[in-house]
Subunit: 414 residues, 2 copies
């Protein structure tokens, strides 16, 4: 038994969307009715209640003083950002475009931070005028901000994004340690801090982001501890007291067979300790975690309709109206070395006992356009709705929508 379980790893169970009358429900609405309301397939559907529940569960688990920020790069749909702005303590933006959306959605500029390598002069001007916190990533950015400060007289709020001298282990994406385009190498930070002081920019703290999509609590704990220690050391060179310490995120969600949800308890315990220490080491400062995917990823579905059912040399193909052009990551073409299936289901036949192995593809003339490769699914016919789970983050905007000129996808928050 154990050997066969090892041989065929399974997807973590997807119970976030209830099933009634044989159909998934999103925001309480049966999937086929939602598709009719949207007026087209394919679409992304995000469940507002699931997002709220996730933030509430985090607040219950994490220390009360900890600030939770939403990294809107994960999903910048304006309605969702507006909902988020009411749930979380701040919004992190990655471009001038995202900054505009965050402000339009009612985020308080005091609670908005802006990170990203290669910020354009135009974007730095916008961020200064908006009064948001700018996570400085290079010496050049300090020089540009000094000039903007001298020219406009506006206060310039900065934190230093640090490229640490360690990596986040087991991370889906490493964003710190070794040579990196992100942030300023830890060993160069004291010199940068001196420059910030000379330029009379308003220093507020540090931003450390070691990596993303990590499912191993102990690796996150270690990165947070090391980030804290590094910030403590660097703060000795700071031109002003630390008022904010952003420890990044990296909380992962299970996508592929064999992956298990992150165990939040050790992370919460560690953040509790760090929060207490911060009370002594950085009096009055905010300790922040910045989460994107973890807040919204599991609350979203990608929904496509079966257009054709083909059997080619014994293999069943469900050809849908959606695919790689709308959901690049589920097709396996966004950072994955080895393609694996996202969890998927026939959302309009959740109670069917007739099951088969099928391959779900899109309408594009490329073999890359693959949503599920030989997966066990309910037997489906043209008209049925395929759902891809875990699609609330890095889906809609992270896909080449114009590819091959098919109709645009839409998003709905329910």
């Amino acid at each position: 038994m154990q050997a066969s379980e090892r041989a065929t790893p399974r997807h973590a169970p997807m119970h976030q969307f209830p099933v009634e009358d044989g159909e998934l429900r999103v925001g309480g609405i049966p999937l086929t009715r939602l598709a009719a309301r949207v007026g087209q397939t394919p679409f992304y559907a995000y469940d507002r209640r699931l997002v709220t529940q996730r933030v509430e569960a985090l607040r219950a688990a994490l220390p009360e003083a900890l600030k939770i920020h939403y990294a809107m790069k994960a999903n910048p749909m304006p309605a969702l950002v507006a909902h988020m702005a009411q749930q979380v303590d701040g919004i992190d933006v990655a471009s001038g475009g995202e900054l505009k959306v965050a402000l339009d959605c009612g985020a308080d500029p005091r609670d908005v931070s802006f990170a990203g390598p290669g910020k354009s002069e135009a974007d730095l001007h916008r961020a200064v005028a908006a009064g948001v916190l700018i996570n400085v990533e290079s010496f050049r950015e300090v020089a540009v901000l000094a000039r903007i400060h001298a020219e406009t007289g506006y206060a310039v709020r900065v934190a230093v994004r640090v490229n640490p001298d360690f990596e986040l282990k087991s991370s889906g994406m490493k964003m710190g340690g070794g040579p990196k385009q992100f942030g300023v190498d830890a060993e160069q930070v004291p010199e940068l801090l001196a420059g910030i002081g000379r330029a009379e920019l308003d220093f507020e703290g540090f931003h450390l982001f070691a990596g993303a999509q990590n499912l191993k609590a102990e690796a996150i704990v270690e990165a947070q501890r090391k980030s804290y220690e590094l910030a403590l050391t660097l703060s000795e060179s700071a031109p002003a007291p630390v008022r904010t310490l952003n420890l990044g995120g990296g909380f992962g969600i299970p996508y592929f067979p064999g992956e298990q949800p992150l165990d939040l308890a050790p992370v919460a315990a560690n953040l509790g300790e760090l929060s207490q220490r911060a009370g002594r080491d950085f009096p009055g400062a905010e300790l922040v975690v910045e989460l994107g995917r973890y807040l919204v990823g599991e609350a979203g579905l990608y929904v496509a309709r079966v257009i054709d059912r083909k059997v080619s040399r014994g293999q069943v193909f469900l050809v849908t109206d959606g695919g790689l052009h709308h959901h690049l990551s589920a097709s396996g073409n966004f950072g994955q070395v080895i393609r694996k299936n996202y969890p998927a289901a026939i959302g309009s036949r959740m109670a069917s006992s007739e099951r088969e192995t099928a391959t779900v593809v899109g309408p594009l003339c490329t073999p890359l356009d693959l949503l599920a490769d030989r997966m066990e699914l309910a037997r489906a016919e043209p008209g049925d709705l395929v759902v891809i789970y875990q699609s609330g983050a890095y889906g809609f905007t992270a896909s080449p929508q114009a590819f091959l000129g098919h109709p645009a996808c839409v998003e709905v928050l329910v």
Copy 2:
């Protein structure tokens, strides 16, 4: 010497764009001046003259009777498609959206064909009304087209896209052989042809497309021969004489170190033989090759500006305003298993003798945003222009432009 050459494969030389006064010229215009004319970076620039030359070179090499079609999925920029429509014998479209562009660009519906799995009913209606040739990919499509024919009385021009019983060897992407979503399995084609006859659709021929991006002439030759033989066999079951035989494309261009340009001579010789045979086997029929990337890929550059120059732990990073969101394929995230560099250069410093190893990245907060990984380049400063060669196909539309909310990229045909 030989051992070291083997150890470090190099990019094929990129001489298609001349250098004058230390700058690349595109369409005769110095790159910095072109950037000023475009009014922004990043942009894609396509050289009209190079496209024309490529078609002329093909016509000179290939048999006179052979028809050359442009598969516009490679690059659907309307100005380019309009230029192409005057150079080639037909346009192949992959969606209703592409069909509209082709017709707007002046393509004659008689010379337009439409392929793709999962064609929507709406798209099939549009294609029938337009009077273009529809490459049928499933039994369901025949049923839908029969209904449209009965309802409208319009003639319905069809060819059968065949999933052959062989694969294109050494192909970057296999699109035929084994179980596939493309076309109809060869062994099911006689039954499909009978259905086409019963439905009184206008049968015109066959479409066989074994794969794409092949640099081995002998593999293309073999696929074309086998495709021809298969079509000859299948034609015995056809309800009408074959009037068009589309042998697909698959002609590759060199992207990565060690890759050499396709040797066209054996392909041309083989097509010469097949063309003569077709004169006897399929009197009056057109023999067609369908090319996308091969016609436009080498005529295009992606151009981004250096925003920041950072040295992190001894490694030089050029942070540009362009990246993965505009050129997914060059970032290594579009079908590549192992990331390799596209050919690249500092287009504003082509004569510089000051060289260094640098990594070119974009402005996104993800380590995937990598345009060139530790490549030897002219030493560059902020303001310089990085060019990525071989970017005329599967670039602009095959990229997630909305990702992270940066300014849109533009295209220019010069």
